[in-house]
Symmetry: C2
Subunit: 114 residues, 2 copies
DNA sequence: GCGTCACTTTCCCATATGGGTATATGTTGC
DNA sequence: GCAACATATACCCATATGGGAAAGTGACGC
């Protein structure tokens, strides 16, 4: 097997930095595909592909406006990520304490080794 | 170019569900690699590879304990993800409203088209 | 209908993945 | 030193990626 498809998951879709950039950009409002490409300095076909991935996982919506296709953020899917990471909140608060315990254990092990 | 390395980012590391499972498991405390494999029903080499990725991005730490190697969660890196997703919080709250606007615009477009 | 603009899709490629199996490394106890 | 146990690495494979270039689709204005 290979790596999971980028479209299999919001997590996978968002793993690509370019796509995170796109989402951030779209916070300011709808934009046509070309504008996204320009503002992020990406090629037009490249942008189109990234937008497709985001569309497939439901993080953006698109609507036609004449020849243009306007892309808009649909951030609801990001909530799952926020909540998943939030489930670790107490642990990253404790991390310093834990790290200290860990370091002290290492030091202790060294003493024993000598 | 291919997809970004799984070790290039916390986002990429966490895109793999198996690795998220490992992190969740380690919330209950340190575990030797074999225990992780057993509890998640993964092969030993597979687990070892996933743990390596998590180690390289700093989401787990390991220490030797005799023949065993105990892995512990270091959740600090997940904070970045939590905060990044949190930056969209107001948007997923608004999403229903936006979706409505969007749908109405679609309906409107249809009317015009007829 | 036709040219043009705005995109999307198709191809091709280099790359790295995750999974399995087999093998190597490291540590302990005798 | 050696057997046994705990992990890590090396190999192999199928797969999908992101990027670039080129070709295809759709909508508009004349």
């Amino acid at each position: 097997m290979a790596r999971a498809a980028t479209t299999s998951d919001v997590f996978n879709a968002v793993a690509e930095e370019r796509r995170r950039d796109i989402l951030e950009l779209l916070r300011d409002g709808e934009l046509p595909a070309t504008a996204v490409a320009e503002r992020l300095g990406m090629t037009q076909p490249g942008t189109s592909k990234h937008l497709k991935v985001l569309r497939e996982v439901g993080l953006v919506r698109d609507r036609r406006a004449g020849k243009q296709r306007l892309y808009a953020l649909d951030a609801r899917g990001l909530r799952a990520i926020h909540e998943w990471a939030g489930g670790f909140e107490q642990y990253w608060s404790e991390s310093f304490d834990r790290l200290e315990t860990y370091v002290q254990r290492l030091l202790h092990d060294d003493e024993e080794a000598q």
